[in-house]
Amino acid sequence: MASRSSALARPPAFRGVGRSILLTLPMALWSLLMFTPSFQHASGDHYIGAAAVILFMTGLFFLMMRTGETYRWRRIFFVALGFLFPVGFIAALVAERGTMSIPISRMVSGDTPFCFMVTPSIILPAAFARTVIFPGSILPTASNPHSIAIMIGLWFALTLVMGKAWCSYACFFGGIEEGFAALPKRRRLHRFITRFGAQLRLIPWAILVFVVLVSAAIFEPVYCMWLCPFKAVTEFPAVRNVETAIQMVVFIALFVGLVVVLPYLTKKRTQCGFFCPFGAFQSLFNKINLFEIRINREKCVDCGLCQTSCPTVALSKDSIREGKTLLNCMKCGACVDACKKDAAVWHLKGTPVAAKPERARLLFLYGTWALATMFGGSVLANGVHTLIGFLPLK
Protein backbone atom coordinates (compact mmCIF):
# COMPACT_ATOMS: atom_id res chain seq x y z
CA MET A 1 0.00 0.00 0.00
CA ALA A 2 1.41 3.32 -0.99
CA SER A 3 1.95 5.73 1.84
CA ARG A 4 1.93 9.47 1.72
CA SER A 5 5.66 9.82 1.61
CA SER A 6 5.99 13.46 0.76
CA ALA A 7 4.56 15.74 3.37
CA LEU A 8 4.74 18.86 1.27
CA ALA A 9 3.71 18.06 -2.27
CA ARG A 10 1.14 15.37 -2.76
CA PRO A 11 2.10 13.25 -5.75
CA PRO A 12 -0.25 13.87 -8.68
CA ALA A 13 -1.37 10.26 -8.70
CA PHE A 14 -1.58 8.80 -5.28
CA ARG A 15 -1.68 5.20 -6.47
CA GLY A 16 -0.94 3.52 -9.76
CA VAL A 17 -3.73 2.59 -12.15
CA GLY A 18 -3.19 -1.13 -11.69
CA ARG A 19 -3.37 -1.02 -7.93
CA SER A 20 -6.35 1.30 -8.06
CA ILE A 21 -8.21 -1.07 -10.34
CA LEU A 22 -7.37 -3.96 -8.07
CA LEU A 23 -8.73 -2.11 -5.08
CA THR A 24 -11.85 -1.10 -7.00
CA LEU A 25 -12.57 -4.63 -8.17
CA PRO A 26 -14.42 -5.81 -5.03
CA MET A 27 -16.61 -2.74 -5.15
CA ALA A 28 -17.36 -3.30 -8.83
CA LEU A 29 -18.40 -6.88 -8.17
CA TRP A 30 -20.52 -5.86 -5.23
CA SER A 31 -22.29 -3.18 -7.22
CA LEU A 32 -23.45 -5.82 -9.73
CA LEU A 33 -25.96 -6.72 -7.02
CA MET A 34 -27.87 -3.70 -8.24
CA PHE A 35 -29.03 -5.87 -11.12
CA THR A 36 -30.71 -8.35 -8.81
CA PRO A 37 -34.49 -8.32 -8.57
CA SER A 38 -34.57 -6.94 -5.03
CA PHE A 39 -33.13 -3.68 -6.33
CA GLN A 40 -34.57 -3.56 -9.81
CA HIS A 41 -37.83 -4.08 -11.54
CA ALA A 42 -37.19 -6.07 -14.66
CA SER A 43 -37.60 -3.41 -17.28
CA GLY A 44 -35.29 -1.94 -19.88
CA ASP A 45 -35.23 1.54 -18.39
CA HIS A 46 -34.44 0.20 -14.99
CA TYR A 47 -31.51 -1.80 -16.28
CA ILE A 48 -30.17 1.24 -18.08
CA GLY A 49 -30.51 3.25 -14.88
CA ALA A 50 -28.77 0.57 -12.82
CA ALA A 51 -25.97 0.17 -15.33
CA ALA A 52 -25.36 3.91 -15.37
CA VAL A 53 -25.29 4.02 -11.60
CA ILE A 54 -22.91 1.08 -11.34
CA LEU A 55 -20.49 2.76 -13.69
CA PHE A 56 -20.86 6.01 -11.84
CA MET A 57 -20.32 4.59 -8.36
CA THR A 58 -17.43 2.30 -9.32
CA GLY A 59 -15.85 5.08 -11.30
CA LEU A 60 -15.95 7.40 -8.32
CA PHE A 61 -14.51 4.71 -6.10
CA PHE A 62 -11.72 4.16 -8.55
CA LEU A 63 -10.94 7.87 -8.46
CA MET A 64 -10.88 7.79 -4.69
CA MET A 65 -8.36 4.98 -4.86
CA ARG A 66 -6.30 6.60 -7.55
CA THR A 67 -6.10 10.13 -6.15
CA GLY A 68 -6.19 9.35 -2.46
CA GLU A 69 -8.82 12.06 -2.13
CA THR A 70 -12.21 11.36 -0.72
CA TYR A 71 -14.19 14.54 -0.45
CA ARG A 72 -14.66 15.73 -3.99
CA TRP A 73 -15.54 12.32 -5.42
CA ARG A 74 -17.93 11.63 -2.59
CA ARG A 75 -19.46 15.03 -3.14
CA ILE A 76 -20.27 14.23 -6.75
CA PHE A 77 -22.22 11.17 -5.64
CA PHE A 78 -23.87 12.97 -2.79
CA VAL A 79 -25.00 15.96 -4.82
CA ALA A 80 -26.36 13.62 -7.49
CA LEU A 81 -28.26 11.80 -4.74
CA GLY A 82 -29.66 15.04 -3.37
CA PHE A 83 -30.92 16.16 -6.74
CA LEU A 84 -32.08 12.83 -8.16
CA PHE A 85 -33.97 11.71 -5.08
CA PRO A 86 -36.66 14.40 -5.44
CA VAL A 87 -36.88 13.68 -9.17
CA GLY A 88 -37.81 10.04 -8.64
CA PHE A 89 -39.86 10.70 -5.54
CA ILE A 90 -41.94 13.57 -6.86
CA ALA A 91 -42.51 11.84 -10.17
CA ALA A 92 -43.83 8.78 -8.36
CA LEU A 93 -46.12 10.92 -6.22
CA VAL A 94 -47.48 12.86 -9.13
CA ALA A 95 -48.00 9.68 -11.11
CA GLU A 96 -49.87 8.10 -8.23
CA ARG A 97 -51.91 10.90 -6.72
CA GLY A 98 -51.48 13.79 -9.11
CA THR A 99 -49.97 16.18 -6.58
CA MET A 100 -47.04 16.59 -4.20
CA SER A 101 -49.27 17.38 -1.26
CA ILE A 102 -50.60 14.74 1.10
CA PRO A 103 -54.37 14.96 1.40
CA ILE A 104 -55.77 14.11 4.80
CA SER A 105 -57.40 10.99 3.36
CA ARG A 106 -53.92 9.62 2.62
CA MET A 107 -52.89 10.26 6.18
CA VAL A 108 -55.81 8.43 7.71
CA SER A 109 -55.29 5.49 5.41
CA GLY A 110 -51.63 5.30 6.45
CA ASP A 111 -50.25 6.01 3.00
CA THR A 112 -47.55 8.52 3.89
CA PRO A 113 -44.12 7.11 3.15
CA PHE A 114 -41.97 7.10 6.27
CA CYS A 115 -38.97 9.40 6.35
CA PHE A 116 -36.01 8.61 8.60
CA MET A 117 -35.95 12.25 9.73
CA VAL A 118 -38.97 11.50 11.91
CA THR A 119 -37.19 8.78 13.85
CA PRO A 120 -36.13 10.84 16.89
CA SER A 121 -39.60 12.35 17.27
CA ILE A 122 -41.34 9.01 17.44
CA ILE A 123 -39.03 7.37 19.96
CA LEU A 124 -40.60 8.54 23.22
CA PRO A 125 -44.22 7.87 22.29
CA ALA A 126 -43.21 4.51 20.83
CA ALA A 127 -41.31 3.58 23.97
CA PHE A 128 -43.88 4.74 26.51
CA ALA A 129 -47.19 4.41 24.74
CA ARG A 130 -46.33 1.90 22.00
CA THR A 131 -47.75 4.48 19.65
CA VAL A 132 -46.15 5.70 16.46
CA ILE A 133 -47.04 9.31 15.83
CA PHE A 134 -46.75 9.19 12.08
CA PRO A 135 -49.52 8.83 9.50
CA GLY A 136 -47.86 5.85 7.81
CA SER A 137 -48.19 2.14 8.29
CA ILE A 138 -46.03 -0.19 10.34
CA LEU A 139 -45.90 -2.96 7.76
CA PRO A 140 -45.48 -2.34 4.06
CA THR A 141 -48.68 -2.24 2.05
CA ALA A 142 -49.35 -2.17 -1.65
CA SER A 143 -50.05 1.54 -1.52
CA ASN A 144 -47.20 2.33 0.87
CA PRO A 145 -44.08 0.18 0.49
CA HIS A 146 -42.00 2.69 2.49
CA SER A 147 -43.46 1.54 5.75
CA ILE A 148 -42.17 2.43 9.17
CA ALA A 149 -40.65 -1.00 9.87
CA ILE A 150 -38.84 -1.10 6.53
CA MET A 151 -37.45 2.40 6.75
CA ILE A 152 -36.33 2.14 10.37
CA GLY A 153 -34.74 -1.22 9.65
CA LEU A 154 -32.88 0.28 6.74
CA TRP A 155 -31.80 3.32 8.68
CA PHE A 156 -30.56 1.27 11.62
CA ALA A 157 -28.64 -1.16 9.46
CA LEU A 158 -26.90 1.67 7.64
CA THR A 159 -26.23 3.53 10.84
CA LEU A 160 -24.54 0.51 12.39
CA VAL A 161 -21.99 0.60 9.62
CA MET A 162 -21.73 4.31 8.92
CA GLY A 163 -22.53 6.12 12.15
CA LYS A 164 -22.71 9.82 11.52
CA ALA A 165 -21.17 9.24 8.09
CA TRP A 166 -24.82 8.76 7.20
CA CYS A 167 -24.85 12.52 6.71
CA SER A 168 -22.20 12.31 4.00
CA TYR A 169 -23.02 9.05 2.27
CA ALA A 170 -26.68 8.16 2.80
CA CYS A 171 -28.96 11.11 3.55
CA PHE A 172 -31.14 12.00 0.58
CA PHE A 173 -31.22 15.66 1.50
CA GLY A 174 -27.73 16.81 2.45
CA GLY A 175 -26.60 16.69 -1.15
CA ILE A 176 -28.89 19.51 -2.16
CA GLU A 177 -27.16 22.02 0.05
CA GLU A 178 -23.77 20.52 -0.61
CA GLY A 179 -24.50 21.20 -4.26
CA PHE A 180 -25.34 24.85 -3.62
CA ALA A 181 -22.33 25.16 -1.34
CA ALA A 182 -20.08 23.87 -4.10
CA LEU A 183 -21.10 26.56 -6.58
CA PRO A 184 -19.44 29.80 -5.44
CA LYS A 185 -15.72 30.42 -5.43
CA ARG A 186 -15.62 32.72 -2.45
CA ARG A 187 -16.80 32.02 1.08
CA ARG A 188 -18.74 34.80 2.70
CA LEU A 189 -19.74 35.27 6.31
CA HIS A 190 -16.65 33.31 7.19
CA ARG A 191 -15.77 35.48 10.18
CA PHE A 192 -19.27 35.22 11.53
CA ILE A 193 -19.22 31.45 11.32
CA THR A 194 -15.83 31.15 12.97
CA ARG A 195 -16.88 33.56 15.68
CA PHE A 196 -20.17 31.86 16.50
CA GLY A 197 -19.33 28.33 15.40
CA ALA A 198 -19.46 27.05 18.94
CA GLN A 199 -23.03 28.28 19.38
CA LEU A 200 -24.24 27.48 15.88
CA ARG A 201 -23.07 23.91 16.30
CA LEU A 202 -25.33 23.50 19.30
CA ILE A 203 -28.54 24.59 17.59
CA PRO A 204 -29.27 21.13 16.11
CA TRP A 205 -29.08 19.67 19.61
CA ALA A 206 -31.49 22.24 20.91
CA ILE A 207 -33.87 21.55 18.04
CA LEU A 208 -33.49 17.83 18.68
CA VAL A 209 -34.41 18.18 22.35
CA PHE A 210 -37.27 20.48 21.48
CA VAL A 211 -38.63 18.21 18.78
CA VAL A 212 -38.36 15.07 20.87
CA LEU A 213 -40.00 16.63 23.91
CA VAL A 214 -42.79 18.49 22.19
CA SER A 215 -43.57 15.57 19.90
CA ALA A 216 -43.94 13.36 22.94
CA ALA A 217 -46.07 15.95 24.70
CA ILE A 218 -48.58 16.65 21.95
CA PHE A 219 -48.32 13.36 20.06
CA GLU A 220 -47.53 14.93 16.72
CA PRO A 221 -44.35 14.62 14.67
CA VAL A 222 -43.40 18.25 15.31
CA TYR A 223 -40.38 18.24 13.05
CA CYS A 224 -42.36 17.00 10.05
CA MET A 225 -45.30 19.24 10.68
CA TRP A 226 -43.37 22.43 11.30
CA LEU A 227 -39.66 22.39 10.68
CA CYS A 228 -38.59 20.16 7.83
CA PRO A 229 -36.96 22.20 5.06
CA PHE A 230 -37.23 19.29 2.66
CA LYS A 231 -40.99 19.25 2.52
CA ALA A 232 -40.44 21.77 -0.23
CA VAL A 233 -38.84 19.12 -2.44
CA THR A 234 -40.78 16.04 -1.37
CA GLU A 235 -44.31 16.13 -0.05
CA PHE A 236 -46.20 18.17 2.48
CA PRO A 237 -49.62 18.18 4.09
CA ALA A 238 -52.16 19.73 1.77
CA VAL A 239 -53.03 23.29 2.78
CA ARG A 240 -56.50 23.17 4.25
CA ASN A 241 -56.49 25.80 7.01
CA VAL A 242 -54.43 28.60 8.52
CA GLU A 243 -52.16 26.20 10.34
CA THR A 244 -51.21 24.16 7.30
CA ALA A 245 -50.71 27.43 5.41
CA ILE A 246 -48.26 28.65 8.03
CA GLN A 247 -46.48 25.29 7.86
CA MET A 248 -46.16 25.68 4.13
CA VAL A 249 -44.56 29.12 4.50
CA VAL A 250 -42.15 27.77 7.12
CA PHE A 251 -41.09 24.88 4.88
CA ILE A 252 -40.37 27.11 1.95
CA ALA A 253 -38.56 29.73 4.03
CA LEU A 254 -36.38 27.09 5.66
CA PHE A 255 -35.59 25.46 2.36
CA VAL A 256 -34.68 28.66 0.58
CA GLY A 257 -32.75 30.05 3.54
CA LEU A 258 -30.91 27.05 4.89
CA VAL A 259 -30.58 24.82 1.87
CA VAL A 260 -30.10 27.29 -0.96
CA VAL A 261 -29.09 30.82 0.04
CA LEU A 262 -26.91 30.28 3.10
CA PRO A 263 -24.95 27.34 1.68
CA TYR A 264 -24.38 29.39 -1.44
CA LEU A 265 -23.10 32.32 0.58
CA THR A 266 -21.01 30.47 3.15
CA LYS A 267 -19.94 27.33 1.31
CA LYS A 268 -21.07 25.45 4.42
CA ARG A 269 -23.81 22.90 4.79
CA THR A 270 -25.81 25.27 6.93
CA GLN A 271 -28.90 23.12 7.28
CA CYS A 272 -26.89 20.03 8.27
CA GLY A 273 -24.51 21.91 10.53
CA PHE A 274 -26.76 24.45 12.17
CA PHE A 275 -30.26 23.10 12.03
CA CYS A 276 -30.87 19.43 11.35
CA PRO A 277 -31.96 17.65 14.54
CA PHE A 278 -31.64 14.29 12.85
CA GLY A 279 -27.99 15.10 12.22
CA ALA A 280 -27.52 15.76 15.92
CA PHE A 281 -29.24 12.48 16.69
CA GLN A 282 -27.00 10.72 14.20
CA SER A 283 -23.93 12.28 15.86
CA LEU A 284 -24.65 10.09 18.87
CA PHE A 285 -23.78 7.08 16.73
CA ASN A 286 -20.30 8.46 16.19
CA LYS A 287 -19.66 7.17 19.68
CA ILE A 288 -20.19 3.57 18.67
CA ASN A 289 -18.60 3.82 15.25
CA LEU A 290 -15.01 2.72 14.92
CA PHE A 291 -13.89 5.20 12.31
CA GLU A 292 -13.02 8.82 12.87
CA ILE A 293 -10.84 11.67 11.71
CA ARG A 294 -7.91 12.69 13.87
CA ILE A 295 -5.31 15.42 13.71
CA ASN A 296 -1.75 14.23 14.02
CA ARG A 297 -0.29 16.77 16.42
CA GLU A 298 3.24 15.92 15.38
CA LYS A 299 2.62 17.22 11.88
CA CYS A 300 -0.03 19.85 12.47
CA VAL A 301 1.10 23.48 12.18
CA ASP A 302 -2.23 24.95 13.34
CA CYS A 303 -2.87 26.65 10.02
CA GLY A 304 -6.60 26.10 10.36
CA LEU A 305 -7.13 24.94 6.76
CA CYS A 306 -9.05 21.91 7.95
CA GLN A 307 -11.32 24.04 10.08
CA THR A 308 -12.11 26.32 7.15
CA SER A 309 -12.78 23.42 4.85
CA CYS A 310 -15.15 21.56 7.15
CA PRO A 311 -18.67 21.94 5.75
CA THR A 312 -20.34 21.55 9.14
CA VAL A 313 -17.90 23.28 11.49
CA ALA A 314 -16.96 20.04 13.18
CA LEU A 315 -13.48 21.30 14.00
CA SER A 316 -12.57 24.09 16.37
CA LYS A 317 -9.27 25.60 17.44
CA ASP A 318 -9.49 23.63 20.66
CA SER A 319 -10.39 20.38 19.03
CA ILE A 320 -7.49 20.72 16.58
CA ARG A 321 -5.20 21.34 19.50
CA GLU A 322 -6.51 18.15 21.08
CA GLY A 323 -6.03 16.32 17.81
CA LYS A 324 -9.71 15.49 17.44
CA THR A 325 -12.81 16.34 15.49
CA LEU A 326 -16.01 17.20 17.29
CA LEU A 327 -18.94 14.87 17.82
CA ASN A 328 -20.74 16.15 14.73
CA CYS A 329 -17.98 15.12 12.29
CA MET A 330 -19.66 13.29 9.43
CA LYS A 331 -16.51 11.85 7.92
CA CYS A 332 -16.82 13.63 4.63
CA GLY A 333 -13.05 13.81 4.28
CA ALA A 334 -12.85 17.51 3.38
CA CYS A 335 -10.41 18.31 6.16
CA VAL A 336 -8.15 15.37 5.32
CA ASP A 337 -7.99 16.42 1.70
CA ALA A 338 -7.47 20.08 2.61
CA CYS A 339 -4.61 19.58 5.03
CA LYS A 340 -1.34 20.37 3.31
CA LYS A 341 0.72 18.70 6.02
CA ASP A 342 -1.04 15.34 5.95
CA ALA A 343 -1.83 15.91 9.58
CA ALA A 344 -5.59 15.38 9.32
CA VAL A 345 -5.94 11.63 8.95
CA TRP A 346 -8.47 8.83 8.81
CA HIS A 347 -8.25 6.77 11.95
CA LEU A 348 -9.47 3.49 13.34
CA LYS A 349 -10.26 3.88 17.02
CA GLY A 350 -7.93 1.86 19.20
CA THR A 351 -4.98 2.03 16.82
CA PRO A 352 -2.19 4.59 17.21
CA VAL A 353 -3.02 7.88 15.48
CA ALA A 354 -1.51 8.27 12.01
CA ALA A 355 0.02 4.80 12.07
CA LYS A 356 -1.94 3.47 9.09
CA PRO A 357 -4.30 6.23 7.98
CA GLU A 358 -4.81 4.88 4.47
CA ARG A 359 -5.72 1.46 5.81
CA ALA A 360 -8.32 3.07 8.09
CA ARG A 361 -9.68 5.02 5.13
CA LEU A 362 -9.95 1.91 2.99
CA LEU A 363 -11.69 -0.10 5.68
CA PHE A 364 -14.11 2.74 6.23
CA LEU A 365 -14.76 3.33 2.56
CA TYR A 366 -15.36 -0.32 1.69
CA GLY A 367 -18.18 -0.64 4.18
CA THR A 368 -19.66 2.77 3.67
CA TRP A 369 -19.35 2.98 -0.11
CA ALA A 370 -20.76 -0.52 -0.47
CA LEU A 371 -23.94 0.59 1.29
CA ALA A 372 -23.95 3.95 -0.46
CA THR A 373 -23.89 2.04 -3.75
CA MET A 374 -26.76 -0.20 -2.69
CA PHE A 375 -29.11 2.37 -1.24
CA GLY A 376 -28.01 5.73 -2.56
CA GLY A 377 -27.37 3.92 -5.81
CA SER A 378 -30.88 2.54 -6.06
CA VAL A 379 -32.24 6.04 -5.44
CA LEU A 380 -29.98 7.35 -8.18
CA ALA A 381 -31.07 4.59 -10.51
CA ASN A 382 -34.69 5.44 -9.84
CA GLY A 383 -34.02 9.09 -10.60
CA VAL A 384 -32.16 8.25 -13.80
CA HIS A 385 -34.92 5.93 -14.87
CA THR A 386 -37.46 8.68 -14.22
CA LEU A 387 -35.43 11.12 -16.29
CA ILE A 388 -35.19 8.60 -19.12
CA GLY A 389 -38.97 8.45 -19.00
CA PHE A 390 -39.09 12.20 -19.60
CA LEU A 391 -36.92 12.01 -22.69
CA PRO A 392 -38.84 12.94 -25.84
CA LEU A 393 -37.70 9.81 -27.68
CA LYS A 394 -39.73 7.69 -25.31
Binding site: W30, L33, S38, G98, P103, I104, S105, R106, M107, V108, S109, G110, D111, P125, A126, A129, R130, T131, V132, I133, F134, P135, G136, S137, I138, L139, S143, I148, A149, I150, I152, G153, L154, F156, A157, L158, L160, V161, A217, I218, F219, E220, R240, N241, L290, F291, L348, K349, G350, T351, P352, A360, L363, Y366, G367, T368, A370, L371, M374
Partner: protein, 169 residues
Amino acid sequence: MRTRILTILAYTGAALTLVVAVCVPFVLMGAFSNAVAHAGLHIDAAYSGGTVARTIDRGRYTIVVYQPVEPRLLERIEPFVQIVFEPAESLPAHVSDEIDLDGDGRPDVRVSFNVPADANAPLRGDVTALNATYISLTNVAGESFSRMVVRAGKQIVVRIPLHEGPARR
Protein backbone atom coordinates in the same frame (compact mmCIF):
# COMPACT_ATOMS: atom_id res chain seq x y z
CA MET B 1 1.29 -4.77 25.01
CA ARG B 2 -1.89 -2.86 25.67
CA THR B 3 -1.53 -1.05 22.34
CA ARG B 4 -1.15 -4.38 20.58
CA ILE B 5 -4.30 -5.81 22.10
CA LEU B 6 -6.21 -2.62 21.34
CA THR B 7 -4.97 -2.65 17.77
CA ILE B 8 -6.02 -6.25 17.29
CA LEU B 9 -9.42 -5.50 18.78
CA ALA B 10 -9.77 -2.45 16.55
CA TYR B 11 -9.06 -4.39 13.39
CA THR B 12 -11.39 -7.17 14.47
CA GLY B 13 -14.06 -4.55 14.97
CA ALA B 14 -13.37 -3.01 11.59
CA ALA B 15 -13.60 -6.41 9.95
CA LEU B 16 -16.87 -7.05 11.75
CA THR B 17 -18.21 -3.73 10.51
CA LEU B 18 -17.38 -4.85 6.99
CA VAL B 19 -19.15 -8.15 7.56
CA VAL B 20 -22.17 -6.26 8.85
CA ALA B 21 -22.07 -4.01 5.80
CA VAL B 22 -22.10 -7.02 3.49
CA CYS B 23 -24.96 -8.56 5.42
CA VAL B 24 -27.13 -5.45 5.37
CA PRO B 25 -28.93 -5.95 2.07
CA PHE B 26 -29.29 -9.70 2.53
CA VAL B 27 -30.29 -10.30 6.11
CA LEU B 28 -29.77 -7.43 8.49
CA MET B 29 -32.12 -4.90 7.00
CA GLY B 30 -34.91 -7.45 6.93
CA ALA B 31 -34.10 -8.60 10.44
CA PHE B 32 -34.24 -5.08 11.83
CA SER B 33 -37.46 -4.37 9.97
CA ASN B 34 -38.96 -7.54 11.41
CA ALA B 35 -37.89 -6.50 14.87
CA VAL B 36 -39.68 -3.18 14.45
CA ALA B 37 -42.70 -4.87 12.93
CA HIS B 38 -42.98 -7.21 15.92
CA ALA B 39 -42.37 -4.59 18.59
CA GLY B 40 -46.11 -4.33 19.22
CA LEU B 41 -46.33 -0.78 17.95
CA HIS B 42 -49.43 0.78 16.50
CA ILE B 43 -50.14 3.99 14.65
CA ASP B 44 -51.54 6.80 16.76
CA ALA B 45 -55.32 6.75 16.78
CA ALA B 46 -55.47 10.34 15.53
CA TYR B 47 -54.25 8.95 12.21
CA SER B 48 -55.47 5.37 12.21
CA GLY B 49 -58.86 5.96 13.81
CA GLY B 50 -58.20 3.57 16.69
CA THR B 51 -59.60 0.11 17.22
CA VAL B 52 -62.68 -1.41 15.66
CA ALA B 53 -65.67 -1.74 17.93
CA ARG B 54 -68.27 -3.36 15.70
CA THR B 55 -69.25 -3.89 12.12
CA ILE B 56 -72.74 -3.32 10.82
CA ASP B 57 -73.79 -5.30 7.77
CA ARG B 58 -75.90 -3.39 5.28
CA GLY B 59 -76.02 -6.08 2.64
CA ARG B 60 -74.16 -4.48 -0.24
CA TYR B 61 -71.70 -2.80 2.05
CA THR B 62 -70.52 -2.82 5.65
CA ILE B 63 -70.11 -0.04 8.16
CA VAL B 64 -67.19 -0.42 10.53
CA VAL B 65 -67.64 1.46 13.79
CA TYR B 66 -64.51 2.29 15.79
CA GLN B 67 -64.03 2.99 19.47
CA PRO B 68 -64.17 6.68 20.33
CA VAL B 69 -60.73 8.28 20.30
CA GLU B 70 -59.91 10.54 23.22
CA PRO B 71 -57.08 13.01 22.87
CA ARG B 72 -54.15 12.51 25.16
CA LEU B 73 -53.36 15.13 27.73
CA LEU B 74 -51.92 17.72 25.37
CA GLU B 75 -52.88 16.25 22.04
CA ARG B 76 -54.44 18.91 19.86
CA ILE B 77 -57.40 17.00 18.52
CA GLU B 78 -61.04 16.87 19.44
CA PRO B 79 -62.35 13.56 20.66
CA PHE B 80 -63.96 11.76 17.75
CA VAL B 81 -65.36 8.48 16.61
CA GLN B 82 -64.50 7.00 13.23
CA ILE B 83 -66.78 5.02 10.99
CA VAL B 84 -65.82 3.46 7.71
CA PHE B 85 -68.07 2.53 4.79
CA GLU B 86 -66.63 -0.19 2.60
CA PRO B 87 -66.21 -1.19 -0.13
CA ALA B 88 -66.75 2.20 -1.70
CA GLU B 89 -67.57 0.72 -5.13
CA SER B 90 -70.61 -1.11 -3.79
CA LEU B 91 -72.15 1.95 -2.16
CA PRO B 92 -75.28 3.42 -3.74
CA ALA B 93 -74.96 6.83 -5.39
CA HIS B 94 -76.46 8.42 -2.33
CA VAL B 95 -75.87 7.09 1.19
CA SER B 96 -77.99 8.17 4.12
CA ASP B 97 -77.61 5.92 7.11
CA GLU B 98 -78.70 6.11 10.69
CA ILE B 99 -75.99 4.48 12.70
CA ASP B 100 -75.85 3.20 16.24
CA LEU B 101 -72.36 4.12 17.39
CA ASP B 102 -72.37 3.08 21.04
CA GLY B 103 -74.14 -0.24 20.55
CA ASP B 104 -77.19 0.58 22.70
CA GLY B 105 -79.60 -0.30 19.90
CA ARG B 106 -80.64 3.29 19.19
CA PRO B 107 -79.22 5.32 16.29
CA ASP B 108 -76.81 8.09 17.34
CA VAL B 109 -76.04 9.88 14.10
CA ARG B 110 -77.34 10.18 10.58
CA VAL B 111 -74.56 10.22 8.00
CA SER B 112 -75.30 11.21 4.42
CA PHE B 113 -73.14 11.80 1.39
CA ASN B 114 -73.18 11.35 -2.36
CA VAL B 115 -70.73 8.85 -3.78
CA PRO B 116 -69.22 10.22 -7.00
CA ALA B 117 -68.56 7.61 -9.64
CA ASP B 118 -65.03 8.98 -10.07
CA ALA B 119 -62.92 7.87 -7.12
CA ASN B 120 -60.83 11.05 -7.28
CA ALA B 121 -63.79 13.44 -7.35
CA PRO B 122 -64.23 15.53 -4.21
CA LEU B 123 -66.47 14.11 -1.58
CA ARG B 124 -68.55 16.04 0.94
CA GLY B 125 -71.06 14.88 3.46
CA ASP B 126 -73.25 15.75 6.40
CA VAL B 127 -73.53 14.29 9.86
CA THR B 128 -76.60 14.93 11.98
CA ALA B 129 -76.21 14.19 15.65
CA LEU B 130 -79.25 12.45 17.08
CA ASN B 131 -78.22 12.99 20.70
CA ALA B 132 -76.06 15.34 22.76
CA THR B 133 -72.92 13.23 22.65
CA TYR B 134 -72.08 13.93 19.03
CA ILE B 135 -71.53 17.11 17.07
CA SER B 136 -73.30 17.64 13.75
CA LEU B 137 -71.27 18.49 10.65
CA THR B 138 -72.52 20.13 7.50
CA ASN B 139 -70.93 19.88 4.09
CA VAL B 140 -67.68 18.56 5.54
CA ALA B 141 -64.74 17.08 3.59
CA GLY B 142 -61.29 16.72 5.17
CA GLU B 143 -61.40 19.65 7.59
CA SER B 144 -59.40 18.14 10.46
CA PHE B 145 -58.50 14.83 11.96
CA SER B 146 -61.70 14.92 13.96
CA ARG B 147 -64.09 16.17 11.31
CA MET B 148 -64.06 14.50 7.97
CA VAL B 149 -65.88 12.67 5.26
CA VAL B 150 -63.19 11.49 2.85
CA ARG B 151 -62.51 8.73 0.42
CA ALA B 152 -59.39 6.73 1.20
CA GLY B 153 -58.91 4.07 -1.43
CA LYS B 154 -61.75 1.57 -1.16
CA GLN B 155 -63.16 3.19 1.93
CA ILE B 156 -65.24 6.21 2.85
CA VAL B 157 -63.92 7.41 6.20
CA VAL B 158 -66.18 9.51 8.38
CA ARG B 159 -65.00 11.09 11.64
CA ILE B 160 -67.57 12.60 13.96
CA PRO B 161 -66.45 14.88 16.80
CA LEU B 162 -67.72 14.27 20.30
CA HIS B 163 -68.63 16.89 22.86
CA GLU B 164 -65.84 17.48 25.31
CA GLY B 165 -66.01 17.24 29.06
CA PRO B 166 -68.39 15.89 31.66
CA ALA B 167 -71.48 16.50 29.52
CA ARG B 168 -70.62 13.21 27.90
CA ARG B 169 -71.47 9.87 29.39
